[in-house]
Symmetry: C2
Subunit: 455 residues, 2 copies
C-alpha cells in the first residue's frame, strides 16, 4: 500500500497536467457544434483507462454521445465495483463572467479553474488515477472494477438509460461508486446515501371560453387565476403538511440514527436564511431544516401564468390559468402513485365553475441506501482515512435519476463519494475544484477499493 | 312636434348619407398616421353642428386631438343639456376578418356596417340630427344645449379630462346626455344609470434572493408562488365575500325598486353560462347575476406570473412571483380608501418568510344616478315613446372614467341613453349599427329635449 500511496504523491503533478488536457476538450453535450469534441472526450477517457492498465476498454456508440466502458475482472472471488462518471460538461455562458477562458484551466489559490474541473472531469479522473496507481505498481486491483463514463449526464443520460436496460449482465456489480456530489464542508469527508425522487405535474384551469372584460363580467363568473390560487393554497396546510390523500402513506421517517447524525452536522438556520436573504425559513412543522430537505417530501410551484403579465394594467378576466407543480419524494413513495393521487385530488377540489386538466410531466424514484450497508461503511472508513477526519453521512434534496436506475436495475448500492463543494460554481462561470480534494479523492478511492476487497 | 317628426322621416336618407361621409374619415386616434384624418373628423363634426343651426361652434386644440364644442343657449330659464360623444374610433385589425372595407360603409340587413358606425359616430350623430330637426323647423330648442365631442375616447380622454378641470363654467349643465352604451336587447329602450369604479393593484412577493433548485432547496424555504396563491385565496371567502377589512363599509345595497327592476329583465343564467361555456356561474352568494355584476363589488386577478412558464418542466424554486388584482367598486366605495385597505391587509397576511411589495396602479370612482332623478325619468318617457315599449333601467359592470368626471365635476346626472347592442362588434371586425336604432335614437333625443324642457 505504501508503494501505491508514494506513487500517487510522486505523480500528482502529472495527474494535474493530464486533467488539464482532459478539461481543454470542450465537451459540451447539449450543442451539436461540439460533436467532434465529444468524440475526442470519449477517446481521451478510453486512452487514459488503457494507460491506467485496464485491458478491455471500448467506446460504445449510442444514438447520442458515446459511452466509455473499461473493466479489470481478475480479482476472483472478490466484489465488483462499477465506477460511474461523465465526460460531458455544461455550456459556458455567460462567457463575460469568467475570469479566465473556461476551457483553458488555470491553477490559482490551490484550485483548478475551468468548466468541468469539478463537474465531473476532476471527480471522475480521481478514480482513473486510483486504479492506475494499483495496476502500475502491483499489477492488480483488490476488487474487480468496471468503468462506465457517459457523455450525456448534463442532458438527461437518455442513451445510458437505454444501454443500462439491455446490459444488466455487462454492468452487474456489488456497488456503484460515484463522485458527483458535494462535501458537507471544506475538508469534511462526506458520503451521500439518499436522493429524493420527483413527481412533476401541470394543471390548467379554463373558465370562460374567451378572455373577458373584468368590468363587464367581474363577479358573475369564476376567474381561473383566482380558482387556481385557491386550489394551490389547498395543497398545503398552514403547518406545511401536504393535503393530498395517502401522500404520506409510504413515507419512511428518518431513523433515530439518522436524526442524530443530522443533528451533529450543526446546520445553522440563521446562516442559511441569511445566505438566501429571507427573514424566516419555512417548511413542515416538527422537522429540522436538514430533515425537511433530505428526508421529507415537499411541494413547490415551479411556475404559474395567467392573464395579463406585461407592464401596466389590463382589465382582463382571463379564460385560462396554468401552474407547474412538483413534489420531491422520499422512500418509499412511488412517483406514479403520487401522480395519480395528485390528479384525483386536484380534480376533486376544483369547483364546477372551471374545467381542469392535469398532466403528468415526469417523475423519478427516491432512493436511500441503508446506513448499515457494508459498502457505505467501507466508504466511510476509506474517506475518513484519506481526509484524516470523521466522515459524515448526508442525503440530498435533489434527484439524480440515473443513480436510482443503477440501484434499481443492478440491485446494487450507490456510494456517492462527492468531492466538490456547493460553492465551487458548477454549472456557473468560474467553476473550480480544490487540488487538495483531488488528491484526497484519489486516496479515498484507493482506500475504498482496498476496504471493499474484504467484503 | 309633428312638423319636426315629419322632417326626421323625410330626411332620414340624407342623414344616413351624411353618417356614411362621417364614417369614411378614418379617425383612428391611437395612431399618429391618422393625425390629418383626426383633424378632418373634428372639422366634419363642427360643420354639421353649424349646419344643424348651432351658432357658437368651435374646434378646441389640445395637447392631443381636438375637441369640438357647440352651443345653443337661447332657451331662457330652461335647463341646459350637455351632449357628449366622440368622433375617434378603434383601430381596424385584423383587417382580413372584415367582410367589407372598414371605412367604406355598407348598408345590409337593415344595418350600417363599418368601423365607427356604432361606436360612436352613429350614436353621436343621432343627437346632432335631433337638434337640426328642431332648429331647421321651429328655429329654437326646448332647452339649452351644449355639444362636446372629443377625439380621444378610445385612448383614455386625457385631453378632455384636463379641459374639463379648467372649464366648469363653459360646460356647466343640468344633465349630461350620452349615447355610448348598449340596449338591454334589440328594440328594448334602455337607460343606464350606474357604472362601477375600479381599484387596480399589483403585488410582488420575493422569497429567496435568487432562483433555487427545487430539489436542493424544496421544503426548506418559502416558495413565493405558493405564498402568493395562499394570499390570493385568502382575499375571498368560499361564499364569494371579499375579506379585506372595511371593504363593504361604504357599499350601498341595491334598493328594493332596483332589485324589482332587475328581476323583470328576466336574465337567463343558463343562457349566460352556455354562451361563456361554463358549467356553473360563480359569485357572491345571496345576489342574482345582474345584482352581482351591477351593484356589488368584485375582485379579480387580471394576471399572475412566476417561475418557469415555457413548455416542459424546470425544477425551479423561484425568487419572485407577482399578480395584478383589480376590484370593481360600487357607490360609495372610494378607490383611494380601498387601495389603502387592500395594501394594509395583504401586507398583514403575508408571511414573514417572504417580502411583499404592493403597488397601486390606477383607480376610478363608481357612480349611480338615483332612479328618482328627474332627467332619468324624462329619458325614460322619451325612449319609451320613441321605441313604443316600456323602457328598462340597467347598470353596467364596467367603468367609463370620463362619465364619472362629468358627474363629479359638473355636479350633473349622466343620462346614458345607449343605442347599440352587445352583439354589434364594436372594437371588432364587422362593427355595425341598426338603422332602426339610428332612427329611434333621433326620436328619443327629440323627445328627451322636449321632456327636459318641463323640468
Amino acid at each position: 500500500m505504501d508503494k501505491i500511496l508514494n506513487y500517487v504523491k510522486e505523480n500528482n503533478n502529472r495527474y494535474i497536467e493530464e486533467l488539464k488536457d482532459f478539461i481543454r476538450i470542450p465537451t459540451i453535450s447539449t450543442s451539436s457544434d461540439y460533436k467532434k469534441d465529444m468524440n475526442r472526450g470519449a477517446k481521451f477517457v478510453s486512452e487514459k483507462l488503457k494507460e491506467a492498465g485496464l485491458k478491455k476498454v471500448k467506446i460504445i456508440k449510442t444514438e447520442g454521445h458515446s459511452l466509455v466502458y473499461g473493466e479489470w475482472l481478475k480479482a476472483e472471488g472478490k466484489p465488483t465495483v462499477l465506477i460511474y462518471g461523465h465526460y460531458d460538461v455544461q455550456p459556458v455562458d455567460p462567457l463575460e463572467l469568467w475570469d479566465s477562458p473556461p476551457f483553458e484551466p488555470v491553477i490559482k489559490d490551490g484550485k483548478i479553474w475551468a468548466r468541468g474541473a469539478n463537474d465531473n472531469k476532476g471527480q471522475v479522473y480521481v478514480h482513473i488515477k486510483s486504479v492506475e496507481a494499483y495496476l502500475q505498481n502491483i499489477g492488480s486491483l483488490p476488487v474487480n472494477v468496471k468503468f462506465l463514463i457517459e457523455g450525456e449526464e448534463e442532458i438527461g443520460s437518455s442513451s445510458l438509460s437505454a444501454f443500462l436496460k439491455n446490459n444488466h449482465e455487462l454492468l452487474s456489480c456489488d456497488a456503484v461508486l460515484i463522485s458527483d456530489t458535494s462535501l458537507y464542508g471544506e475538508g469534511i469527508p462526506t458520503i451521500n446515501y439518499g436522493l429524493r425522487g420527483l413527481c412533476y405535474m401541470e394543471i390548467e384551469l379554463t373558465g370562460p371560453n374567451r378572455d373577458l372584460h373584468s368590468g363587464s363580467f367581474g363577479g358573475s363568473v369564476a376567474n381561473p387565476i383566482n380558482e387556481l390560487a385557491k386550489l394551490i393554497a389547498k395543497l398545503q396546510r398552514p403547518d406545511g403538511k401536504i393535503t393530498i390523500p395517502n401522500f404520506y402513506k409510504d413515507v419512511k421517517n428518518p431513523t433515530k440514527k439518522e436524526k442524530d447524525n443530522f443533528a451533529k452536522l450543526k446546520f445553522s438556520n440563521r446562516k442559511y436564511a441569511k445566505e438566501l436573504n429571507v427573514k424566516e425559513l419555512y417548511g413542515e412543522k416538527g422537522y429540522s431544516t436538514l430533515e425537511r430537505l433530505w428526508t421529507r417530501p415537499s411541494l413547490d410551484c415551479n411556475g404559474i401564468i395567467g392573464g395579463y403579465t406585461e407592464k401596466g394594467a389590463k382589465t382582463v378576466l382571463p379564460s385560462k390559468a396554468a401552474a407547474k407543480i412538483s413534489m420531491r419524494l422520499v422512500p418509499d413513495q412511488d412517483p406514479k402513485t403520487i401522480a395519480r393521487e395528485f390528479s384525483k385530488y386536484v380534480k376533486s377540489i376544483a369547483p364546477k365553475s372551471v374545467k381542469i386538466e392535469v398532466r403528468e410531466m415526469h417523475g423519478g424514484y427516491p432512493v436511500v441506501i441503508p446506513l448499515e450497508n457494508k459498502y457505505l461503511k467501507a466508504a466511510e472508513k476509506a474517506t475518513s482515512k484519506a481526509f484524516g477526519k470523521k466522515t459524515v453521512f448526508t442525503r440530498e434534496g435533489g434527484s439524480i435519476p440515473i443513480v436510482v436506475e443503477f440501484v434499481k436495475q443492478l440491485n446494487a448500492p450507490a456510494i456517492l463519494m462527492g468531492l466538490g463543494l456547493d460553492t465551487d460554481n458548477i454549472h456557473s462561470p468560474n467553476e473550480h475544484f480544490s487540488l487538495k480534494s483531488f488528491e484526497l479523492g484519489i486516496l479515498s478511492s484507493i482506500y475504498f477499493l482496498n476496504e471493499a476487497s474484504g467484503l
